[in-house]
């Protein structure tokens, strides 16, 4: 049983679904012979042919729109955004056309739109974004954001099998950085809509997702060692629909909540989580719900700037310590 990377797990998940179901096909920029900008679809065109691994023009609205049309006809398209930053070019198609289709017209649109997101890689303003908040506000979409190798595989497979449109966000900082052994011969499916307890704790909860799961775990280790604090880390895994039960359960357990996300602060998902805790578990709180997020600026290129703007492990440690002492 060999260790595989996050990227390899994602690749395996796509591969298995294409082998399992001939309705599944991939479309996007440079996904064919080149194998995708990050090589997620490396070797796919050789195995599955050009009709199921389609290189498209640089046209995100057309990619998503065509995926939607094909999905109406019973196919299962997986559309790749070369970098998730470019998903904004398909914003109209996703929010107005795709997300509304079942409700307004009874149209089935089982598409997956996936792509590399996130910073910490010196990608600058247009190769570092986290787009989830822009789509969280859209009824009709699902958003998944795996942080582990296992969930990278389990969630891409579940997303492809879902009857409705799913945005699958994959953090490029995790692609080759984290490794895990996955059991062979076992089909891995991660249920959409279920959070995961990444670390058990009793003094304080960190609710997070994506790359900051790992930074939060690192912070939790340090807080335990240096301060004797027992920190629970909840990995949301799915952002839409949000797992309210898991959020409320951890609030009831530790009574203090720090929400950590890499996306910018204003209008970010932390605000939504805060509102839900306020509505469902207000009386369980022993302190204010606090946020550690990116600063409200575009993501800058220079390491000195990016490191300052994005939330770091040390920021989480300090914020958690402050909240624990509240």
């Amino acid at each position: 049983m060999a260790e595989i990377t996050f990227l390899e797990a994602l690749r395996q998940g796509l591969w298995e679904e294409m082998e399992r179901d001939e309705r599944v096909f991939i479309l996007g920029e440079d996904v064919g012979l080149y194998g995708g900008a990050f090589k997620v679809t490396d070797g796919f065109v050789k195995k599955f042919g050009e009709s199921r691994v389609i290189d498209t023009p640089i046209a995100e609205a057309a990619i998503v729109g065509a995926a939607a049309g094909a999905a109406h006809m019973g196919l299962r398209p997986v559309a790749e955004m070369q970098f998730i930053d470019f998903i904004s070019c398909a914003y109209d198609m996703l929010t107005n056309y795709v997300a509304t289709a079942r409700y307004r017209a009874g149209l089935s649109t089982p598409i997956v739109v996936r792509g590399p997101c996130g910073g910490y890689v010196r990608g600058g303003p247009f190769h570092s974004q986290n787009p989830e908040a822009a789509f969280l506000h859209t009824p009709g979409l699902k958003i998944v954001y795996p942080s582990t190798v296992r969930d990278a595989k389990g969630l891409i497979k579940a997303s492809i099998r879902d009857e409705d449109p799913v945005l699958y966000l994959e953090h490029k900082w995790l692609y080759r950085r984290i490794k895990e052994q996955l059991p062979e011969g076992e089909e891995i499916l991660t249920p959409i809509g279920k959070a995961r307890t990444a670390r058990e704790g009793k003094h304080l909860s960190i609710i997070t997702y994506g790359a900051t799961v790992w930074k939060s775990l690192e912070a939790a280790d340090k807080l335990e060692k240096d301060d004797g604090l027992s920190v629970e880390v909840i990995d949301l895994r799915t952002l839409l629909p949000m797992d309210d039960a898991a959020i409320v359960a951890t609030v009831q357990k530790t009574n203090k909540v720090l929400i950590v996300h890499e996306d910018t602060r204003t209008g970010g998902i932390a605000g939504e989580i805060t509102a839900r805790i306020n509505e469902q578990a207000f009386e369980w709180l022993d302190g204010p719900i606090m946020r550690v997020t990116a600063h409200d600026v575009p993501i800058p290129y220079a390491p000195t700037l990016e490191d300052f703007v994005l939330p770091q492990t040390d920021d989480i440690v300090k914020a958690a310590r402050w909240l624990a002492n509240y």
């Binding site: 096909f25 009709s51 199921r52 389609i54 498209t56 023009p57 046209a59 609205a61 057309a62 990619i63 998503v64 729109g65 065509a66 995926a67 939607a68 049309g69 094909a70 999905a71 109406h72 006809m73 019973g74 196919l75 398209p77 109209d92 198609m93 107005n96 056309y97 509304t100 079942r102 409700y103 307004r104 017209a105 009874g106 149209l107 009824p139 009709g140 699902k142 879902d162 009857e163 409705d164 629909p241 509505e279």
Partner: protein
């Protein structure tokens, strides 16, 4: 403003090759479109139409003529109409009662009161309703026809786009993708002279919309959109070409929007004499009628029978649904997704 060159003549174009039954069927759809819209105007004035009312007056010919060139029936060709392609939808099998229910937001409407006017679909019959964001249906129909190509089905898609909608990015992205993939898609570009209140000279700098399509390597023709035969023939050619795997084809239909953007719009920005000229000398239904009568292919009695049949059909459809209820509020939250099956009802509703 110059009228299209084609004038009514006795002789039918040789390529049309339509039987007298088919000629009468086309007449039926033209008449049904116009009569149904006139009924909707009456219902609108009685405030029974909940939202806006969009007329296709003057564009019935290109709508019916183009759709009639498709293969119809269960799981055959698929078209995506715009707001002024009621005729196309009727040709594909949409029923007057469905249109009436949609406009009146009835519970029994095809969208259960969730969407308005002609924004609904029946993919088995072969129509996919538009959304309001113009241009979006070009990529979506590229996807529909991509599925035909992938499954090697001998089916064709047809999508309409207006002279205004052709300014959108989605139009250009979608047409380019369809051209590159050689998809079996026919695009009908409607030059109806008005995008809401915006005239052609403020909308595009080309002379003909066909010029835009040619820029993507797509064969494109311009035809008189108020000549049903010209539209039918051009579409028939494009559809059969697409069915043979030869790829996208663009047909520009020159026509004229003779009502405002919607019923509330008094179209004060349209020169009265131009409107009068199109109305009195270039009405597509009049031209079609004169042509089939003067060619002695049908009798006036045949047409009168159809007029009567249409009147009865629209009356019966109206009577059957005008007093139906609106959807009950408790249906509002279901069906956004399969799972979860309904959105949460908010807490203050239970207070």
């Amino acid at each position: 403003m110059a009228l299209p060159a084609t004038r009514p003549t006795a002789a039918l174009p040789a390529g049309a090759a339509l039987s007298s039954d088919q000629l009468l069927e086309i007449y039926y759809y033209l008449r049904l479109t116009r009569t149904l819209e006139e009924r909707l105007v009456a219902l609108y004035r009685q405030t029974k139409v909940i939202g806006g009312l969009f007329r296709s007056l003057g564009q019935e010919g290109e709508s019916v003529g183009s759709a009639y060139a498709l293969e119809r029936g269960r799981n055959k060709d698929i078209l995506s109409p715009l707001i002024r392609n009621l005729g196309s939808m009727l040709v594909m099998g949409a029923r007057p009662i469905e249109i009436l229910r949609q406009y009146m937001a009835k519970a029994e409407s095809p969208t259960s009161g969730r969407e308005m006017n002609v924004h609904f679909n029946d993919l088995e019959k072969g129509y996919l309703g538009q959304i309001s964001h113009l241009g979006d249906m070009i990529p979506v129909m590229a996807g529909i026809t991509l599925s035909f190509k992938m499954r090697r089905e001998p089916r064709v898609g047809l999508v309409y786009i207006g002279d205004g909608g052709m300014s959108t990015g989605s139009f250009h992205e979608g047409l380019n993708l369809a051209a590159v993939q050689r998809l079996p898609l026919v695009v009908v570009g409607e030059y109806n002279h008005w995008s809401y209140s915006t005239p052609p000279e403020k909308q595009f700098a080309v002379k003909d919309l066909a010029d835009k399509a040619k820029g993507y390597g797509v064969p494109a023709v311009t035809v008189d959109g108020n000549d049903v035969f010209a539209v039918y023939e051009a579409t028939k050619f494009a559809v059969e070409r697409a069915r043979r795997g030869k790829g996208v084809h663009f047909i520009e239909v020159k026509t004229y929007r003779r009502k405002g953007h919607a019923e509330h719009d008094d179209q004060h920005y349209v020169p009265k004499d131009v409107l009068e000229q199109w109305s009195s000398t270039n009405d597509p239904v009049d031209r079609y009628t004169q042509r089939i009568l003067s060619a002695d292919l049908v009798s006036e009695a045949d047409l009168k029978d159809i007029d009567e049949r249409v009147r009865v059909e629209v009356d019966q459809a109206t009577d059957a649904c005008v007093d139906e209820p609106l959807p009950s509020a408790d249906t509002a939250l279901t069906g956004v997704q399969v799972d979860p099956p309904a959105a949460d009802q908010l807490w203050f509703k239970a207070l």
